[in-house]
Structure formats: C-alpha cells, structure tokens
C-alpha cells in the first residue's frame, strides 16, 4: 500500500481543488506547473542536474500546440502528443550538448541555452510571432470521428481534462522513479564517480532523464497554451525557467508529490500576494534563500519533520528517495 501513498496524496489534492478553489483556471495552472516542476525534479532531485533550461521545453510545447491548433487541422490529442515529442527532442538537443559538461559548467550552459532559445523565439517571428507571441489558440473538445467525448470550454471542464493527464503522468513518473532506471539515476546523483566506475553510461542515463523531463515539460507548456489561448514569448523567458525551478525547490526535491506542493504553494501565494503587493517576488527570493539555508528538503521535508515529531519518532521515515541528512552534510565537505 505504501507504494501508492504519494499517488493517493496527489489524487486527493486533485479531487480537493474544485471543492476549495473558486477559479478553475488557477486550479488547472497548479496542475500544469506541477507537471513542469516534476520534470525539473526528475533532473534535480533524482539525477542531480540543476537545469535552468526548463523554459525552453515549456516554450517549445506551447509554440508547438499553438501552431498545430491554429494553422493545421491537427486533432487536439495529436497536437498535445506532438508538443510532448517536440519538448523531448528539444531536451535531447540541449541535453546532448550540456551533458558533455559537468557540475557548474553544466548549470551555466543550461542558462545560456535558455537565453539562446529566447532570442531564437524572438527572431523567428514567422513561427513564434516574436514579441507578440501566438494568439487565439482554440481549445477544441476531445472528440473521436466528430463525436464530442469531452467538452473543454469551461475552466472546470478543462481542469478535469488536465487532472486526468496529470494523474497519468504522475503515475508514469512514479513508475519511472521506482524502476531500475530511476534507482540508477539516484546512484548518479549521490556519487557520479562511483556510478561510472560500476560501469553505468552516465551520459546516456542523464540524456534519458533529460528527454523524459523535456517531454513532461513540453506537455505542460502545451496545456498552458491551451488554457490561456496564448503562447507568449514570456513562456520562453528566463523567468519561466526560474519559476519552475523555484517551485521544485520550495516543494522539495527528490519527491514527485512535493512538486505539486511547490506548484500549489507558488501559484496560490502569487495569486494572493500579487494583488496585495506587486513586488511580492522579493519575498519569494528571500523564501528561496531561506529554503536553501535551513530547509533543504522543502515543504515536503518540513511536513515530514512535523509529522515525525507528532509521532514521537526520532528517526526520519526511511524513504529511499530522500537521502538522510547525514549524507547531505558529508557530501558538502568535499566542496
């Protein structure tokens, strides 16, 4: 049963949002960015790759679906699938170059590629609409042979569609993270030299993680474009990459459900604070510093600690996906 606890948590959150929230769009956005954050988490939390290029795949996904739905008569599911594939291909290209470098160099490269993609999107006005982005993206119903199976016109109807996709992807990523492949990624994260010495092909493993991450993020970008009806240039901006990363880190790395927490926390806080104080990002910057300094396992880690205290347990729950604090502390010593 324990295997499915996190999936159950996610399902509960998905079911609870319509009961607790007013806006279907905001709820859909939470799930869409949770997808993107999970993609980022797969890299950061499971493989140890800090990527500032997630905006590339997000942007690719939204541009792809926008082009498909506005210019060519492509059925909506196929357009989403294509956006996913394009996200994966983009990740394969970026990954192929960036993975040749390690550590800090890799981080810098992902940001440089994110900027590069931004300027490509800015310059290629024929495809992306440049500064204006692509507008009037329709949100067709889900239909087979002309029969509508699922109307997506209202925000909550769209939320239903997104939540099904979200749960499917969550399930798949959970499977991936617990497969032999996922465990091997953890080995790469915890000790690259050792993983290489055992004989794992690090580059291939990292590239595979990158491709999966790009696919999920591309799907998120596509859903976002369908939700807002826009594929703006800002989807490809540094800010988007940063936002996805911040959600992942604040939620907690190395745990997929935590990404949903991070996304919900970020977007609900943004929704609430941005009306009160337009410079709320200042608080977010401080929050990110605080998480890095004192709460490295994010909201999930905080919740777990509190839960353990309540239970009167001293030792943290033995979740194999989260390294014990002692390992983290000793790893830093080498730096």
């Amino acid at each position: 049963m324990k295997k499915y606890t996190h999936f159950l948590f996610a399902a509960v959150v998905v079911a609870a949002m319509p009961l607790l929230m007013q806006s279907g769009s905001l709820a859909s956005e939470v799930l869409i960015f949770a997808l993107a954050a999970m993609g980022c988490n797969l890299l950061l939390g499971f493989t140890g790759l800090l990527s500032f290029g997630q905006g590339i795949f997000f942007g690719l996904g939204s541009y792809t679906v926008a082009l498909m739905l506005t210019r060519w008569p492509v059925p909506m599911p196929l357009a989403l699938l294509l956006a996913t594939v394009v996200g994966a291909l983009g990740a394969a290209v970026v990954g192929w170059v960036a993975i040749r470098q390690r550590g800090t160099y890799f981080v810098m490269l992902t940001l440089a590629f994110a900027q590069m993609f931004y300027f490509v999107a800015y310059t290629a006005t024929g495809l992306t609409g440049g500064d204006n982005g692509l507008m009037d993206i329709p949100r067709p119903n889900l239909s087979i042979f002309g029969t509508d199976l699922w109307t997506l016109a209202s925000p909550w109807q769209f939320y239903g569609f997104v939540s099904v996709l979200f749960l499917v992807v969550f399930w798949l990523l959970l499977k991936v993270s617990r497969s032999t492949f996922g465990r091997t990624l953890l080995a790469v994260r915890d000790n690259e030299e050792r993983a290489a010495a055992i004989g794992y092909n690090l580059r291939l493993l990292k590239l595979q993680a990158f491709v999966i991450s790009g696919a999920v993020t591309g799907l998120a970008g596509a859903l976002h474009a369908m939700m807002t009806g826009l594929a703006p240039l800002s989807n490809a901006e540094y800010h988007t990459s940063e936002m996805i990363l911040v959600m992942t880190v604040i939620g907690g790395t190395g745990n997929l459900f935590a990404s949903l927490l991070g996304s919900a926390f970020y977007l609900l806080l943004a929704d609430w604070l941005s009306q009160l104080w337009p410079r709320w990002l200042l608080l977010l910057g401080i929050a990110l510093m605080a998480v890095s300094l004192w709460m490295q396992r994010g909201l999930w880690g905080l919740g777990e600690t509190i839960w353990n205290r309540l239970q009167g347990q001293r030792k943290p729950l033995a979740d194999p996906l989260v390294p014990p604090a002692a390992v983290v502390a000793t790893k830093g010593e080498q730096v």
Partner: protein, 286 residues
C-alpha cells in the same frame, strides 16, 4: 570611416566590459566552486548606485570610485552572513541561495527606482567625440576601453603578483592544502567574493552611461558573463579576456549585419566554440 572598423572598436569596448563582468565570476568560481547567480545583481546595483549618485549631483568620477567599494563591501558581507552557511550543504543550494539573492535584489531595485529604466549622463569631460583625420569616435567609449585595459593589468597583477593572488590561485587548486599551510581560507573567500562583486559593480558603473540603468539588466549581464566564461574557459583570466572581446565584437558587428539577430549570434558563437572546443578556448580539461 569604415562601418565595420567602427563596429569592431565598439565591440572591443563592449567586450572589455564583458571581460570585467566575467573575470569576477570566474575567480569566484575558481575558489568557491560554485556559480554566483547574484553576480548580475551586483552589476545591476552598480549601475543604479551610479545613477542615484549622479542624480544627487555628485560627479561620475566619485561614483566610479565609491560604488565598487560599497558594492564590494556588500559582497563581502553577503559571503560572511549568507553564503558561508550553505557551504556544508549540497552543491545545488550554493547556487540556489544566490538565485534567491538575485531575485530579491532585482525586486528591491524595482521597489526603489521603479520598473522602467533611466539613462545616466556621460560625464562632462568625456562628452562629444574625438577626431583624428577621418577617425571619429565617442570619447566616453574610448575611455572605457582604456580604463578597463588598465584595470585588466591591475587585476592580473593582483592575481599574479600579490600574496592574496597566490593564495587565491593556490586555493583554486586545493582549498584544504591552503588552509593546512596556515592561511585563513574563509577570510580569503569573503575577500574574493567582495572583489568579484566590486568588479561586477564597476562594470555596471561603466556601462550605465552607454546603456542606462534598468532592472532587468542584471540577468541579461549574468547570461552574457556565462557565455564569456564558457567560451573563454572556466577559471582562466586570459580566457575571460579573449572570450569577452570575441563575444563583444561578434555582437557589435552583427548588429550592423543583422540587427534583430545580434543578441542571438553571441549564443550561436558560444555553441560553435563549444562544439569545437568543449572546455572553451583557453580552458583546461577537468
């Protein structure tokens, strides 16, 4: 006068500023082993402090001296108060804490000076152009080239000719060894971080009369500094110089040939260098 020659000289000026930006990043990386995402933020506040001082009627020259010192002190304090406490954690958090810092600084700047940028006047003494026969060129840009060249020599001397410099270079090889030799490494960490912040701020001050001050110039500068470091080779002083000049000239010449794509081309140049030389032009293999 030949437009391309003009653009190459423009490119040298921009490139020297890029060098100044990248060299601080590179030295900090060499010693502290992480990328400082707040580097662009120091450049940003450098430009804004200069803007504010000139608005108060103080001279640009005073700003040129005072701002790097102030921002250097801020950097020094940041290392002591914030960064020092993440060294024991996972590598990613060193970077993330500076990402948070950069975001906070950017928002503080918007809070104080508003989201729209403003221009900074060129100092009186450097208004106008110089004319040597058919060679006509803005005085201020020539000054930037000369001044940064002097700074480059000075920085090189600090790194190669002083005790601090040898500690920094030795620390880049092995921090443990340097501390075993009885040198207080933590003190050097904060000094070097302060020095990095000061050079970034100096680049900000020098750039402000050319491109003005606006809140998003920090992240833009950070990305360019990354490109320069990637092109030149991480941790290499001459690599930063070569990379900076190359990227500056590419950007400048391309802005004549293909104005919309000039910014794109610096990233294309980076990709090309990476494919040919994965460790940068003058970088060492790890």
């Amino acid at each position: 006068m030949n437009i391309y020659l003009l653009q190459v000289i423009n490119g040298i000026g921009i490139g020297m500023l890029y060098f100044l930006l990248a060299v601080g990043l590179s030295i900090v990386f060499g010693l502290l082993r992480f990328v400082n995402f707040a580097h662009g933020a120091f450049y940003l506040i450098g430009a804004y402090f200069c803007y504010q001082m000139t608005r108060w009627g103080m001279s640009f020259w005073l700003a040129l001296v005072v701002v790097p010192l102030v921002v250097g002190a801020i950097g020094w304090a940041t290392e002591k108060l914030v960064l020092r406490h993440v060294y024991a954690t996972d590598h990613e958090f060193h970077i993330l804490v500076t990402v948070g810092l950069a975001l906070a600084v950017q928002e503080l700047v918007i809070l104080q000076w508003g989201p729209l940028g403003d221009s900074v006047a060129v100092p009186d003494a450097l208004q106008g152009v110089v004319m040597w026969g058919s060679f006509i060129y803005p005085k201020y840009r020539l000054f930037v080239i000369g001044f940064t060249a002097v700074l480059a020599v000075l920085l090189w001397w600090v790194l190669e000719g002083t005790r601090l410099g040898s500690a920094v270079r030795a620390g880049s090889e092995s921090t443990e060894m340097v501390s075993l030799l009885g040198i207080n490494v933590l003190r050097i960490f904060s000094l070097v971080f302060g020095l990095g912040a000061a050079t970034a701020a100096l680049a900000g001050v020098l750039a402000s009369p050319i491109r003005g001050a606006e809140p998003f110039m920090g992240i833009e500068a950070l990305a360019v500094a990354f490109v320069v470091v990637v092109v030149g080779g991480m941790g290499s002083f001459s690599g930063a110089l070569l990379g900076g000049l190359m990227i500056g000239i590419v950007q400048s010449v391309m802005s004549t040939l293909w104005p919309e794509g000039a910014r794109l081309m610096i990233y294309v140049a980076m990709a090309a260098v990476l494919l040919l030389r994965p460790h940068g032009l003058l970088g060492r293999k790890e």
